[in-house]
């Protein structure tokens, strides 16, 4: 009886863990996870700073070649929306070294807030599967768009953001 109880508890634990692992990336309509990003400059950005804004969360790394393909387009898009006040871009630097990350940001002239993903906590919270991956969160705090891999160009970024902004 004891052995059966032990086996059932064990199977339940394994099933729960497998279910968690098999969920895949966040999908459209799911609430965005709460997280805090401390930028390379030391600024803390948390969920409260994102309330009522369209938030683009981009996972990247300096060693990631495909990330370079979209870096300029992301910065150009940020320059288009930064004055509005209701759009926020966040760069989450995944398993990277600070020296190379800062060199990457300087190389592409990236000015929107960027910070290291300490302990890969944000990456796991979004259930990301690699870099680059981008999540666009609507003003209600729900995931509205997920991009696996690099954006193909500026138009792809702006078209998704414009859909979430009031006319």
């Amino acid at each position: 009886m004891l052995a059966w109880g032990f086996l059932i508890v064990l199977l339940a634990l394994v099933a729960a863990q497998l279910r968690s692992a098999q969920r895949g990336v966040l999908t459209r309509g799911e609430p965005a996870p709460e997280f805090t990003l401390i930028t390379f400059e030391g600024e803390t950005i948390d969920t409260e700073d994102m309330t009522g804004k369209v938030v683009l969360v981009n996972f990247w790394a300096s060693w990631c070649k495909p990330c370079e393909q979209e870096a300029e387009a992301l910065q150009t898009a940020w320059e288009m929306y930064s004055d509005r006040g209701d759009v926020l871009f966040l760069g989450v630097d995944y398993v990277d070294t600070e020296k190379e990350a800062l060199a990457y940001l300087e190389r592409f002239g990236i000015t929107y807030p960027n910070g290291p993903d300490i302990g890969s906590a944000i990456y796991y919270a979004f259930r990301a599967r690699g870099v680059p991956e981008t999540f666009i969160i609507n003003k209600l705090g729900e995931v509205a768009f997920v991009k696996i891999g690099p954006f193909e160009g500026l138009a792809e970024i702006t078209s998704q953001i414009d859909l979430l902004l009031e006319p």
Binding site: L10, V95, S120, G130
Partner: protein, 173 residues
């Protein structure tokens, strides 16, 4: 007769000794200060073997199941350089593992830490072995002590037959 305050005659050798000692002292002080300065700037550059001794216990962040010491990706190269930088700064091996876990999460370790769900990895094999040993032992004990039915008379039946035998013997007498 020599008095207490009588000076010793001039000895050129003792002056030379003083100069030699003074120069030696200055050289030692100079070497000491250089040593201190270099320690403040960091230790010697670690060799690739020293870096790889630590890197082999860490795993590539982007490839599946590839130790850091044999991984050829740019990410791994950066991490190995990070290990070298930390060694130069005087970090111990354990401090470097702690740094990597803090920065990148526990999945970088070759062996997962025994916390959360991971404790099962460490607890389960011995628990299964103990349970198996317990049930095997119990089974063996039961198997040995169980009587073989149909081949051995019970005490009750034995008494019954004995009484019958005695009665029959009495009757014959």
């Amino acid at each position: 007769m020599r008095t207490r305050n009588q000076t010793r005659p001039y000895d050129g050798k003792s002056d030379q000794m003083r100069i030699v000692f003074a120069i030696g002292f200055l050289l030692l002080a100079l070497v000491g200060s250089v040593g201190t300065a270099s320690a403040q700037e960091g230790g010697p550059t670690p060799s690739p073997d020293e870096v790889n001794a630590i890197a082999k216990n860490l795993y590539c962040p982007v490839c599946a199941n590839v130790p850091l010491d044999v991984c050829g990706t740019a990410a791994c190269a950066q991490w190995r350089q990070q290990i070298a930088d930390l060694l130069t700064e005087g970090y111990t091996e354990q401090q470097i593992y702690d740094y990597f876990v803090q920065q990148y999460g526990p999945s970088v370790l070759a062996a997962p830490p025994a916390s959360g769900f991971n404790w099962l990895i460490y607890a389960l094999p011995p628990a299964v072995l103990l349970l198996a040993a317990f049930f095997l032992g119990r089974g063996l004990l039961n198997w040995k002590s169980e009587p073989v039915k149909g081949h051995r008379a019970t005490k009750k039946s034995s008494n019954k037959y004995r009484q019958r035998l005695e009665n029959e013997l009495k009757a014959r007498r």
